[in-house]
Symmetry: C2
Subunit: 335 residues, 2 copies
């Protein structure tokens, strides 16, 4: 494959291709993307005259995870990597640490390092900045959280449906005093989970008490604090839907510290499954996401995008309720 | 800060500094390291004539973790990142996935990306290759496992001592039929843990049965398989020391599948603590490493190395036995 062949295939001049690689800002984003895609597709190696070609052709994917300590993202990264490797790509990972400033720095770093594309689990990075990246021809895919960019490949779970499954389960058991530890509402997944919770209660004519909606930041400590607040209420809830696994860990730590028994005194259902959820005491009822499939799909979308073609897609996966032993009927009869 | 100032400070010619940055292979490794260290120290920005200076000065640290799904490494990365950020560095992470070929690819990728230094949790990468990296002036630090390179800053836990603590605990409880799920013996930490186990048994005049030493690869599945083999023995052990948290997870999955009760039928102590170890049923007795301190120390050593000076150090941290409820005296009396 020579520069000449590339030019022929793309119906572009050699000068344009050269420019797309060496001075991308001088070329229309779409053109640049087509050129990069072709370079990636052919595993094109430069012959020395266009050294910049090599710089561009990294066959490296960047992944910005929201929180590396969250087992959900570790499993996702593993799935992304397996798919990347099968396609000859290597993966660089950055940890946004649930902090939008760190997310922005991570994206900048990866794009400076000329990765082929970035899978981003947004923590709420500035939309203008993301837009600038996108306009410069960077290939981005949203995972788990929607950054707000238009025309972007996106892989998410049906967060609303997951929260409905969890809340329906608690209502079915006879609970009426149901609280939630919600995630930060600038994130699309956290919003979806709160809406699903509220809608389900309303559907069953159960009032959504303001004090029963506590907000965390998707980290353990915030789950602990939210549980503390709910516990201190004059009339604490009998059941709790926690919007992610890290906050659930915090809730469980608090409940254990206080000697509150699960599920007799408080039923708990959490979004996200994990190894320990299955083996903890008692085993945790959860809404599970099809993590491996979602990770693989994300990488597939990114690779398809690098190959050019097709308008951006949003893939929504269905969550599943796994009933274990952290939920039961309330001790006091429903009012 | 100009190139001239740099040259004066380092007592080197401008030509040498230029060469150290643009053609590192032509400069003695130590000289190159001194130059890079100075560039990093001063946050030197080039004036255009020595463009390569900018390329080199990335203020980015690479971390190659052995297994991203292992909670131990997630916690370590978090500690490394916090320390890196406090010093103005960003962190790029690669997952070696307990596979030496992937580790080698990750190291190559990070060094190609001109990171300032790499913290490596070796999975057994080829020593010649590592040596080549080192000779080219790459700043490497070993974490958790010793790669075998000489003159390298290294942060490890006292693996032998940790295994002794775990095994002594089981002997103290009255166990004599004590088995281990050991890690892969080409890794220094796995070797240390096995030696500590064997030495403690010998010290107490307990025979180290060959069938009681099963080997895994530090992954869950291998822990499951090892437990299966031990369970199928005519005389299974009454107690088990598992050499890492991932394999312990596999052991627990097997034991639960079989309905074997912990600790009545089998006492289990694992290397590494984790959130779920504390809340599982029953809470797991573990040998804990001071993860945060170790991660911080690793980054400090790397930064000190970038600043030049001092010969390489090896820091050995002391592990701690945390007795929970997965260990008790054996049901049958010791022979």
């Amino acid at each position: 494959m020579t520069l000449h062949d590339l030019a022929k295939e793309l119906n572009l001049s050699i000068a344009t291709i050269s420019r797309a690689l060496s001075r991308p800002e001088d070329v229309a984003p779409l053109t640049r993307q087509r050129v990069l895609a072709a370079v990636h597709r052919h595993g094109y190696t430069p012959n020395g005259t266009t050294r910049s070609l090599r710089t561009q052709q990294t066959r490296t994917i960047g992944v910005v995870v929201s929180d590396i300590r969250n087992a959900f993202f570790a499993a996702v990264v593993k799935a992304i990597e397996d798919e990347a490797r099968a396609n000859g790509y290597t993966v660089l990972i950055c940890n946004a640490d649930e902090d939008s400033a760190k997310e922005e720095a991570a994206l900048q770093l990866l794009l400076d390092r000329k990765v082929s594309g970035v899978i981003n689990c947004s923590t709420g990075a500035n939309l203008d900045l993301l837009h600038t990246f996108q306009k410069s021809g960077a290939v981005l895919v949203d995972f788990d959280r929607e950054s707000g960019l238009k025309n972007l490949d996106t892989v998410v779970v049906d967060n609303r449906r997951g929260a409905e499954l969890a809340t329906e389960h608690l209502v079915d058991l006879g609970h009426r005093d149901i609280a939630t530890v919600a995630g930060p509402q600038h994130l699309s997944n956290a919003r979806g989970r709160l809406i699903g919770f509220q809608d389900t209660l309303r559907k069953h004519n159960i009032q959504v008490k303001k004090s029963f909606v506590q907000y965390g930041n998707f980290r353990q400590e915030s789950g602990y604090q939210a549980a503390q607040k709910l516990h201190s209420l004059r009339q604490p809830p009998t059941a709790l839907f926690v919007a992610n696994v890290e906050m659930a860990a915090g809730v469980i730590a608090f409940v254990r510290d206080k000697g509150v028994t699960i599920p007799q005194e408080i039923s708990i259902v959490s979004f996200d499954d994990s190894f320990w959820a299955r083996y903890m005491d008692p085993p945790l009822t959860v809404v599970a996401q099809p993590v491996e499939t979602m990770g693989k799909c994300t990488m597939e979308l990114l690779l398809a995008r690098l190959r050019g073609g097709k308008p951006a897609q949003t893939k929504v996966f269905m969550p599943e309720l796994i009933v274990r032993r952290s939920t039961c009927s309330p001790a006091r009869s429903p009012r």
